[in-house]
Symmetry: C2
Subunit: 122 residues, 2 copies
């Protein structure tokens, strides 16, 4: 793979992730019902994707903090017996409303992109 | 729709578009085979999506220029009988290579996102 291709693929993947990471995390926290902390969210991600995408916990935290700053998640810190305190995140009512709208926007964009890609094969 | 929800949806859509616009334009130019200018590309977009997404020509140009700067498109300007000169864009060999890699990255990310969203409904 040439440098140009490699660099273009990294840029593209980064842009795709920027849009979809927040969607995926909100969906996981809605499904859970219970508040989850970072490690649990990473585990859920791995289970959902059959281990296909190893979630790096370090990449989750900036997204979780951004979602909290927007009022879509709430958090509380609880002491842990075995280590440092854990920060538990839960979806807020506004977060659930946003998730519903994001699901619709995702499906619309996904079908649009798939439509143009399939057009290219016919 | 509250301001928070509205603002979160706009932000999300903008991020999704940033990742997918370049993919869609490369796919259209590969399918075409012939070089196309902005208006033709916008028309192709509308046809592919059955008029569902009215493509704004103004939003295409920054993406086309960025793709050219990355070496994925080439362009040539030709005089037009009826109006200002037209800038025709064509996909380069490197662009075709990048498109193949982007298709794979898109499918992988799409299936990952769909997997987490479907997990939420079961």
């Amino acid at each position: 793979m040439t440098d140009t291709v490699d660099s273009a693929v990294r840029k593209f993947q980064k842009e795709l992730n920027a849009g979809t990471a927040a969607l995926v995390l909100l969906a996981i926290l809605e499904r859970s019902g219970d508040p989850l902390y970072g490690y649990q969210i990473a585990k859920q991600l791995e289970e959902t994707t059959s281990g296909g995408v190893p979630a790096k916990q370090g990449t989750l935290y900036p997204v979780l903090r951004s979602l909290e700053a927007q009022g879509l998640l709430s958090s509380r810190v609880e002491p842990s017996v075995a280590g440092p305190p854990r920060k538990y995140y839960a979806i807020t009512p506004v977060g659930a409303e946003v998730l519903a709208a994001w699901r619709d926007a995702w499906k619309h964009t996904r079908d649009f992109v798939d439509g143009t890609l399939e057009g290219g094969r016919s």
